[in-house]
Amino acid sequence: MEVLTPRSLDEALRLKSENPQAVPIAGGTDLMVAINFDRIRPNAVLNLNEVPELRGWSRANGTLRLGAGLTYAEAMREPLAGLLPALAEASRTVGSPQIRNRGTIGGNLGTSSPAGDALPPLLVAGADVVLASVRGERRVALGEFVVGPKRNALAEDELVTAVELEPASAAETFMKVGPRNAMVIAVVSLALRAGEELRAAFGSAGPVPILVRAPRDDADAFPERVAEAAAPIDDVRGTAAYRRHALRVLTRRALDRCLA
């Protein structure tokens, strides 16, 4: 195994292009588990911790740019938490303080798990994922970025460098069901943004997180619509029937919270 540690984004993209099999690592909250348990043994890992361009967040012409290296702990902090309240709420439900200090938004996107807690709030915010390679930069709508369970639109020479989205202009919230508060992979999760249009996105209730939209006047029928849009399965964390039911309940509660 080889560890590649670039000190700039240019160097990171060059290394990824020269070593397309290199697996990116930032917070290590997914990859290190796989390595520790000998589930994968990559030829090379690309350590992104020393790439300053991936850190932090910025705002230009109203658009927010979250660096791929933004941690959940950072997403929970003001003033960002006030600009993206559902993402902050989702971040608070991730793992534990130790996990939130290391885990990154870019890692959540790269892993593309159906249970990724950051994905529903980013979906309702209409986020674009910024992908970069030595060939240049492109933007992919989050809904098109995740193409299957743990599968995404990244080309082998590309890295997730950022997410771009608009700050919340309407009430929004995030909810998650699990057996306890901390250290829980979502049995089901839901983000809702209630503007002129209602936008809900759920996690752990289908192969990919799905965005469901409806006019604000259709709020009464919205919980059923969200539940119907899900394609849940039975697994160790819950049954399909429970997940669909929970989505209906969460959507109702989220609407009550946001439309109050």
Partner: protein, 150 residues
């Protein structure tokens, strides 16, 4: 590969396997077995250390990622015969049973009190939510945190 890092204020070097965790390097290469190895998946918190002043699970940090960085383990909090006030509070409150989770809980508590010297009950619970203890039911541990905060 060789890594150079600061551990408990001391400049150290270690020869590590590229896929090795910081936890393994601390315990097996640097002679610091205070950080415990249990779940190896970030669930239990018994390997909690401070990396550049931030609370992390050492099992989820690639040792190579710690190259050039600053690590504080439970061994670096106090000295022999001079325990850290949080360690004293854990002894005083009887917050130790089998003791395996204790180093991680002590490091997490030190981190909590550094950010919030007078934590609320909810803050204590949240701050220690990533540290599992299977012996005590946590009551004495919370007593120790309150005691240390005084």
């Amino acid at each position: 590969m060789k890594i150079e890092l600061t551990v408990n204020g001391e400049q150290r070097e270690a020869d590590v396997w590229e896929g090795e965790s910081l936890l393994f390097a601390l315990r097996e290469k640097l002679g610091l077995p205070g950080s415990k190895n249990a779940c190896e998946q970030g669930e239990c918190g018994s390997c909690s250390v401070l990396l550049d002043g931030t609370l992390v699970c050492a099992c989820l940090v690639l040792a190579a990622q710690a190259d050039g960085h600053d690590v504080v383990t439970v061994e670096g909090l106090g000295a022999t015969g001079e325990p850290h006030p949080v360690q004293e509070a854990f002894v005083e409150a009887g917050a130790v049973q089998c003791g395996f989770c204790t180093p991680g809980l002590v490091v997490a508590t030190v981190d909590l009190l550094a950010h919030s010297p007078q934590p609320s009950e909810d803050e204590i619970r949240e701050a220690l939510s990533g540290n599992l203890c299977r012996c005590t039911g946590y009551a004495k541990i919370f007593d120790a945190v309150r005691l240390a905060a005084q």
